[in-house]
């Protein structure tokens, strides 16, 4: 996507535009019925996750199928800080991101010895292993199937013990609760990290480090022939993207303080791959758009059930209406994953560059047309 038109100024415009759009989400999402905090937090958190994933997959060309493991590790670490130290989210987020970073350093060190399909399978295997461990042996740390939850008996060294009869204290940012401002504070808190993460990803893309990563993606052998040791670069990219995922996991735990092993399952890793692909691999904004589209669609589609559909098609003759409703109901509600799978296939087959490529194509068509007009 490196175009000759990229200048520091265009990057600044992109960044400012992005910031504005994200901050104004509660306003412009209103007509779509998506302007409530829960969903917008998801947009921000998964957008962050996808940005980080894109640094590894989009820029460096390594397809990891185990990134959800870092989300899980980040969540667990965050909740433990809530339990042991304080309900203030800042120490928890810093600690959680660091732990995820160290964890991804170890995993990356092992997996990056191989490339291509081997790498994908190795990450898949390691993530699956962490998932299994979280369910079985590590139960004292992870609480197994119930998931790690807060309780009034936690020690909270910095906050002090909870008075008798009081509930679990809420997560807060120096006294401001996450659910303050009708939940909007939680959203803006996540959005802040999304914007910072986006800025870092622009800086990485434009830096010489970023072009090194793209060099690895294009032709690693040639990079090595020029005498470069590519491993530190790959490992750095892996750790950075692991920390992004860890931070996303921390934010999940910050807005809703519990952590469960199902966040680490490999289908969750598959979901972030889909987000990145749907938005546009290797582009800056693409992954965020992809994440938002999927989370929005998930929210809309899985809420529809058969009775809604029957109402929707009630203008048709009875039998036809019921028939169409029953066909469509395969794709919505509990069948939402079927739509997801189909979407996945369609995007990979017809639009490998994702939404961003689609936009680009449309733009080019109009641009070429207008140039042809002016030539006449």
């Amino acid at each position: 996507m490196a175009k000759s038109t990229v200048t520091p100024r265009s990057d600044l415009t992109l960044f400012l535009g992005f910031t504005l759009v994200v901050l104004a989400m509660p306003i412009w999402l209103q007509p779509f019925g998506a302007a409530y905090p829960d969903l917008m937090q998801k947009f921000a958190i998964f957008g962050l996750f996808a940005i980080g994933f894109n640094i590894l997959f989009g820029q460096t060309g390594y397809l990891s199928f185990g990134h959800a493991a870092f989300i899980g590790v980040g969540s667990y670490a965050t909740v433990w800080i809530f339990k042991l130290m304080t309900m203030n989210v800042i120490p928890a987020i810093i600690f959680g991101t660091l732990v995820a970073g160290i964890f991804s350093l170890v995993i990356g060190f092992i997996c990056l010895r191989r490339t291509g399909i081997y790498f994908s399978i190795l990450t898949l295997a390691l993530a699956q292993m962490s998932y299994n461990l979280a369910y079985s042996v590590l139960t004292p740390i992870t609480q197994g199937e119930t998931g790690l939850q807060l309780s009034t008996k936690d020690m909270r060294l910095l906050d002090g013990a909870v008075a008798d009869g009081a509930g679990i204290p809420p997560t807060n940012f120096f006294g401001i609760e996450m659910s303050a401002w009708d939940g909007l504070f939680g959203f803006y808190f996540c959005a802040f990290f999304l914007i910072v993460g986006f800025y870092i990803s622009i800086r990485i893309t434009r830096s010489s480090f970023g072009s090194m990563l793209r060099g690895i993606k294009t032709n690693q052998t040639r990079m090595m022939y020029t005498g470069l040791n590519t491993r530190p670069y790959k490992l750095a990219a892996f750790v950075i993207s692991g920390m992004y995922a860890g931070l996303a996991g921390c934010l999940m735990a910050a807005v809703d303080p519990l952590a469960g092993a199902e966040r680490m399952q490999w289908t969750a890793s598959g979901e972030v791959v889909l987000m990145t692909i749907l938005g546009g691999i290797g582009t800056l904004v693409g992954p965020v758009i992809g994440a938002a589209v999927i989370k929005y669609a998930e929210n809309i589609f899985s809420a529809i059930d058969k009775s809604v559909l029957v109402d929707l098609f009630s203008f048709l003759p009875d039998t036809l209406g019921t028939f169409i409703a029953s066909v469509v109901s395969l794709f919505v509600g509990k069948g939402w994953h079927l739509t997801l799978g189909l979407l996945f296939m369609l995007v990979v087959i017809f639009l490998p560059g994702g939404i961003m490529e689609g936009v680009e194509r449309i733009k080019r068509r109009f641009f070429v047309k207008s140039r042809a007009d002016s030539a006449e």
Partner: protein, 336 residues
Amino acid sequence: MDAILLQILNGLDKGGAYALIALGLTLIFGTLGVVNFAHGALFMLGAFCAVTVNKAITLSAKVRDESVTFFEAYKDVPYLEMWLGETGSLIINWSIPISLLVAIPVMLGIGLAMERGLIRHFYKRPHADQILVTFGLAIVLQEIIKAFYGANPIPQTAPDFFSGTVNLGALIGMDLTYPTWRLVYFIFSMGIIAAVFSFLQFTTFGMVVRAGMADRETVQLLGINITKRFSTVFGIAAVVSGLAGLMYTPILPPDYHMGMDFLVLSFVVVVVGGMGSLPGAVAAGFLLGILQSLASMTEVKEIFPGIDQIIIYLIAMIVLLVRPRGLMGRKGVMED
């Protein structure tokens, strides 16, 4: 000692399933160069062939139950039993072996359709695209099955003839009782493996396929339509993993995501065995199956808690770090 032998035996049936799926994966990878993430879904589809056949032959009518005299009670009597009497119940009892006959053409058809309709267009695309599109296909297939059969496992029973246990240790004076069906599964998987290998080794078709795996271009230059043969190989691979799933139903009640569970492990098996090596896939399948069941012994678990959950992944990591090509991997396969 008895316990260890018994665990090795227990590992054989699971190892057989891993070996069969890994064999299919390797066949597809070796011939078409495609990494098929939808292979687990084929295993699952095979299992649901058995479920479908079973449902079809036990189609029932409601008949008044004469043994209840107080009130009008009804019971389900399959049509087959009404028409054929004893023979009918025998057929129902043998539904799994019968569904083998149905599954072979069905799986062959599904395999060919998949190759012609989708995979063929992905030969020239990067491996990442192949992984992604087959991953999507796997989700679609399993969601379709879920929509038709629901999310709960559907238990299947083996024919009465194979129920119960056999004492394998009788000959050597030990006590090794082993479920008969698992033994059948092991023998069956060995049979399939032998059939695939001899097909590749002793038939002209197999010879051409092997030649194509070694050097595709030269074979094409000799005027042989290798693409056509390779899509047949895809069909065969689909049949192999479908049958593996079908025969596994009495051991593990099939549900819609059984394929995914087996797929991840089978990939690990393929990597451990060495990508593109058929004997490697089979050997690693049995090896990992046996190791897994050894690791679930209580004595081992006391020393290393939870080892049964992670042993396979642990072995895979060690093998890849020590022998990056896998146990029997060939040089030059998937190295770039």
